[in-house]
Symmetry: C2
Subunit: 141 residues, 2 copies
């Protein structure tokens, strides 16, 4: 692991450790995408589509240009996982909605991705809880 330990701030070292942990799961995520025959950005898109949303919002969440979303959604739509629907209020907007099959795939996907990596699963449960509580506190504020 190429942890760059910042001796001056515990938050910086914690962040580096989180990056290492996340990086160690890259291969697993790629394998999950392949398992569902989805390209990684397609998997990322489906992951964000718990609720219907305009294409522009998906672009925002993926931090990419909206013209890029057009192509990703094209491919998901041609596989029957997503539909483009007219928005009630604004005829410019296209709402993205998962099909039944899309919902099914998303459910499986999220389940597989939520499995914690061995480094976390191997922690004593008290430590798991402490970690969870700290992260809850960080992300709620």
């Amino acid at each position: 692991m190429t942890t760059v330990a910042n001796k001056h701030s515990p938050a910086a070292e914690a962040w580096s450790l989180i990056a290492d942990l996340f990086g160690s799961q890259r291969g697993r995520f790629l394998a999950i995408a392949q398992e569902f025959e989805l390209a990684p950005p397609q998997m990322g898109a489906i992951k964000h589509m718990a609720e219907p949303m305009p294409m522009s919002e998906l672009a925002g969440r993926l931090a990419c240009d909206s013209s890029n979303v057009t192509g990703i959604v094209d491919r998901l739509e041609s596989r029957g996982l997503v539909e483009r629907r007219p928005a009630p209020n604004d005829r410019r907007v296209k709402m993205l909605v998962l099909t039944a099959e899309g919902e099914r795939v998303r459910g499986e996907l999220v389940k597989r991705m939520s499995e914690p990596p061995p480094q976390l699963a191997a922690l004593p449960v008290a430590d798991q809880r402490a970690l969870r509580d700290l992260l809850r506190r960080a992300l709620s504020g």
Copy 2:
């Protein structure tokens, strides 16, 4: 025996929170890459090159095909950030070595990426330390 963590286990929730935290930093990472005029996979490659290594090892760390590494390294080399050098023991192997400029860029890059996100930096220092210690424990075992 290994307990498969379900979605209610503390480790699973901690992992989900970590994924959220990491996902929230996607835009910042992309911005850093752009700042250095590096494509994201190029940035990822340089990040891993703290020490000289064969191309195959970089492929392993990036969890991608070695033919992909050829192209990424080509572009880094044409920018003068990396060199391909013959390996002493095995003439098939090409060792990747950062140039002086490559080292400089890598240093800046790692420094920028190590800045903790606001959610962590805003935690009380005692919590930062607790988080760091928990993560150290998880990643060392």
